[in-house]
Amino acid sequence: MTGLVGRSAESITGALRGVFAAERVAAADGLLQRRDPRATLCAVAGLALAVMIARTLAVTLFFGLVTVALARLSKVPLRRLLARSAVVPLASAFVVLPQLVLLPGETLVRVLGVAVTDAGISYVVLFTLRVGTGVALLSLIVMTTPFSAVVAAMRELRIPVALVWVIAITYRYLFLFFDELQRLILARNSRTTGTSSLRGEWRDASRLAGTFLLRTIDRGERVGRAMRARGGARAPSPYGRTRSLNHYDYALVAFAAATIAASGVIRWGL
């Protein structure tokens, strides 16, 4: 898999693995890093909710700007944030791409005899931007707050243990999932020479997918044992990193709450 399919799989895997890996940014002295993890979690998740409620381009762009501002104030390099956040919206855009021609509206251009409508373009652009902004906001949590602190904050916010458990396990397994895929691709590439046709590459990729599935199950079992070996059979209980909430924490949460309300008012005209 040294051709297009192989390179694409390798790049996407590397990017997704990066999304689930913690970075040194969490140790920087920025706005979100100085906040109590509970405040960060509530505020950023609230902003992501407000983005999901939004249905207009202007509101979505506003939240995009808020995300950029939060990133700058938290000393998160925008390029790194973009790299972490780009894969999911691009994949989402691919999924909703048929809406370009399925949604009725004014024809803007014809591609291979099929009409691309203005409503279709608006839908795809808006959907992709909303997903991108939402993912960027959630990435901000991971980039500015150690994951164990996020889990501890969820426990302190009295989010049901089962849900915290699912989030903690899913996050860890997603990281391992992409780590395993990257290891498999590297192992394959190290013993692949020359070039093959696109068809041959797809055939190789399908074989790889089967092996990957088996390896993932196997590794999942081994990691499960490693967790149990250190008390993983008990409910997640990372050390808390919370402190007394200060005015800035409350202000950030209030800002997020206000944006949820405003987003709702704009959408439903309450």
Binding site: R17, F20, A21, A22, E23, R24, A26, A27, P146, F147, S148, Y171, R172, F175, L176, D179, R219, R222, V223, R225, A226, M227, R228, A229, R230, G231, G232, A233, R234, P236, S237, P238, Y239
Partner: protein, 266 residues
Amino acid sequence: MGPVIESHGLTHEYPDGTTAIRDVTLAIEAGERVAVIGANGSGKSTLQLALGGLVDASSGTVTYFGETTDAEAVRDRLGVLLQDPDDYLFNTTVREDLEYGPSQLGMPRQAADRRIDRLADRLGLKGLLDQPPFRLSGGEKQRAAVASVLTFDPDVLLLDEPFGAVDDRYRERIRELMTAHEGTVVLFTPSPDLVPEVADRVILVGQNGSVVADGSVREVLTNGSLLREHGLRPPTTVRLFDGVVEPEEIPLTVSDAREFLTREVR
């Protein structure tokens, strides 16, 4: 004080029908230093998992501290280090991995922080604490995994190939940490060379997954024919002195050999 781990007729069969360990009956006493040796595929790692309560035995029992057969009830007293550090380090930073055991097992944070600082310093991990584990080299991952199992200060250590890809300097540090551990240490390794420096007792697992020898380091490691029959070679010093001096005089470690040679030459 009774055995900290005692197994009776322990057998584990994988779903494909392979019997990894067969009718293993043994007792490990408190404070013992035991090495479980065997060739690749002999079932050492499965035995470690079964003794650590991490796989369900097909038959047989394991009793912990003479009081329970439920490993989860004594999880804070058992330190099980798995063979592959990539499986063992599943958190997003090294620090989170070092904190995982102590926090899950209820160790107070300050005590955990002190142990983490000390172990990170000892094993050269201080500058790596905020790194994602997958960015570490093989030896660094192994050191982080060893530190992770030591952070919650378990009474019994069950360590599967803890020296892995570690360089000589840190291999010595890990050996010192094992020696300094006040509880029980059980090392699983395919390499008899390391054994005399860390163990007093050796259990040899044969290629069919059963225990074929259990005795002192000298008894087992100087029995070259037995070791070769089960796919292993005696330690280097034993091979060097075998047939040259009486079996009971064979030096087992390099430092013993050096002392012996110095004495003889003078």
